[in-house]
């Protein structure tokens, strides 16, 4: 069974559709890259997957026992976070919120889970440090560790390398690829960095005028790509 099933969905705001007739599925272990021009509806799709905006028509559902709140989400950074006084550990622990309900404090298991993900992202040395003093790449790893606290199965990454230098970008892509290949975590990544995205993804979803969903190989000879290239070069 699929982790995520999108059937004939129309996505948009306040009744105005941006994307129509969108259908795709995400299987366990997939690495799906969502590409498309700016304003084509990538962010709207992401918000709909997360349940922040309802689809105008059709449905996006989780399957195979995955609950809607078990999607680990790596958002783009907000201005608020840049001067937020919080340690790495405090932020990673907050990823455990989805299993807490009304329980006010973190349990031993929650804390252990946070420590494990801090280790997994190589942040042991930084655990007590202040988030706003870290470099961009380190901050992304902190948010990735937080997302891993929320899920063991599906990660949704929104432009994870935005604003990072090439070396850090490559490291972060490698880290994400390892999570996918070694730990079997399903990845959905939104990106406009087509080349790098295609280097790691197994499937591609192109949103925009031409909708495309299929394997990376099929995408490479498809209409949608030539359409995108035309728009990029134009």
């Amino acid at each position: 069974m699929s982790l995520l099933i999108c059937e004939n969905a129309s996505l948009g705001y306040e009744g105005r559709p941006i994307v129509q007739n969108l259908s795709f599925t995400v299987e366990e272990g997939d690495y799906l890259c969502v590409v498309g021009e700016n304003g084509s509806g990538k962010s709207t799709l992401m918000k709909t997957i997360l349940g922040l905006t309802p689809p105008l028509k059709g449905s996006i559902k989780t399957g195979d026992g995955l609950k809607a709140n078990e999607i680990g989400y790596l958002p783009q950074q907000t201005p608020v976070q840049r001067d937020f006084p919080a340690t790495v550990r405090e932020i990673v622990r907050s990823g455990c919120q989805n299993r807490m309900g009304l329980k006010p404090f973190y349990s031993k298991e929650d804390k252990a889970r946070a420590e494990e993900n801090i280790r997994r992202m190589g942040l042991e040395e930084l655990a007590g440090r202040c988030y706003r003093e870290l470099s961009g790449g380190q901050q992304q790893r902190v948010l990735l560790a937080r997302a891993l606290c929320a899920t063991g199965r599906l990660l949704l990454l929104d432009e994870p390398v935005a604003g990072l230098d090439p070396k850090v970008t490559a490291e972060l892509y490698q880290l994400i690829a390892d999570l996918n290949r070694k730990d079997g975590i399903t990845i959905i990544m939104i990106s406009h960095d087509l080349n790098a995205a295609l280097a790691y993804a197994s499937k591609v979803l192109h949103v925009g005028h031409h909708l495309f969903f299929g394997s990376k190989e099929a995408y490479l000879d498809s209409e949608a790509l030539s359409g995108l290239n035309r728009e990029v070069t134009a």
């Binding site: 958002p75 937020f84 006084p85 340690t87 405090e90 990823g95 919120q97 989805n98 807490m100 006010p104």
Partner: protein, 280 residues
């Protein structure tokens, strides 16, 4: 020097002065707790707007000649908090413009009402003490003292209980919502609690100076400390110390309580800013 202590000791003989100190300390404690969240969520303007609404509500309570003004002011301010938060989330009306409208409107109408239906011969004195606090904390009735104590403890209790959720919602609202935390619900809770804090703090520092009580301790703590927990604890300690110091100075030097507390807070902020710079 002895004269000062004699004066303090003599003042502390009066039960109403002791009540005022206890209530003032509690108010300072709970106003500082939510300061960090308000500053970081860019919600400070809501606090400012609500304090003006509280002034308007106080004017209504005065002309109705209520013996106990707090419940009415509390209800009106909470309702405004809920409404302001709603408009703040509506993208069609700019949130800050709506807040400015409501706050200036409440201030103007409050003053107008107090002029049209004067309840005492000393109108400007009444207005001044509502705006700047004067010594109203010393004239709290027994009921108001207990109500203040109960509300303060409730605010502190709610903060401790929801501490981790407040942190999550403040740091990253979208992530919290995506992981199933009811972020709009917590925003509402925060707005309602801020309304309660403002009504409480109005007795201590008056409606124009409330924002200072909420924001200064948080900003001071953020100069030096780097984790959310230590900033919160430091803000609470700074706020309580400043309030107690301010109240004692006000008693000894016969200065207005509210502005003295704010002055002490400003001094604290400057020293923390300096300490932060030196620490690097």
């Amino acid at each position: 020097m002895n004269g000062i202590f004699d004066k303090l000791a003599a003042s502390l003989e009066f039960p109403f002065v002791r009540y005022a100190l206890i209530v003032g300390t509690l108010i300072a404690l709970c106003s500082s707790l939510f300061g960090v969240t308000l500053v970081l969520k860019r919600f400070s303007f809501i606090g400012d707007g609500l304090s003006h609404v509280a002034f308007g509500a106080m004017a209504i309570a005065m002309i109705l000649r209520l013996t106990n003004e707090m419940p009415l002011v509390l209800v009106l301010t909470i309702i405004s908090a809920v409404l302001l938060l709603r408009t703040g989330q509506n993208t069609k009306i700019r949130g800050d413009a709506a807040v400015a409208m409501v706050s200036v409107g409440a201030l103007a109408l409050g003053y107008l009402l107090m002029n049209l239906f004067p309840t005492s011969s000393n109108l400007s004195g009444d207005v001044c003490s509502t705006l700047f606090g004067a010594f109203s904390i010393l004239t709290l009735s027994q009921t108001e003292v207990w109500l203040s104590v109960a509300l303060s403890l409730l605010v502190v209790g709610l903060f401790v209980f929801f501490y981790n959720k407040i942190f999550a919602v403040t740091f990253d609202e979208n992530f919290s919502r995506a992981t199933g935390v009811n972020a709009p619900g917590y925003n509402l809770l925060i707005a309602v609690i801020v309304a309660v804090i403002i009504v409480l703090a109005m007795n201590l520092v008056g409606s124009l100076l409330i924002s200072a009580l909420i924001i200064f301790p948080a900003l001071s703590a953020m100069r030096v400390y780097k984790s959310f927990l230590s900033v919160t604890i430091c803000a609470a300690v700074v706020s309580v110390i400043c309030a107690v110091l301010g109240m004692l100075i006000a008693i000894v030097a016969d200065t207005p309580v509210g502005s003295t507390i704010v002055a002490v807070n400003i001094a604290a902020f400057l020293s923390f800013a300096l300490a932060g710079k030196l620490k690097g």
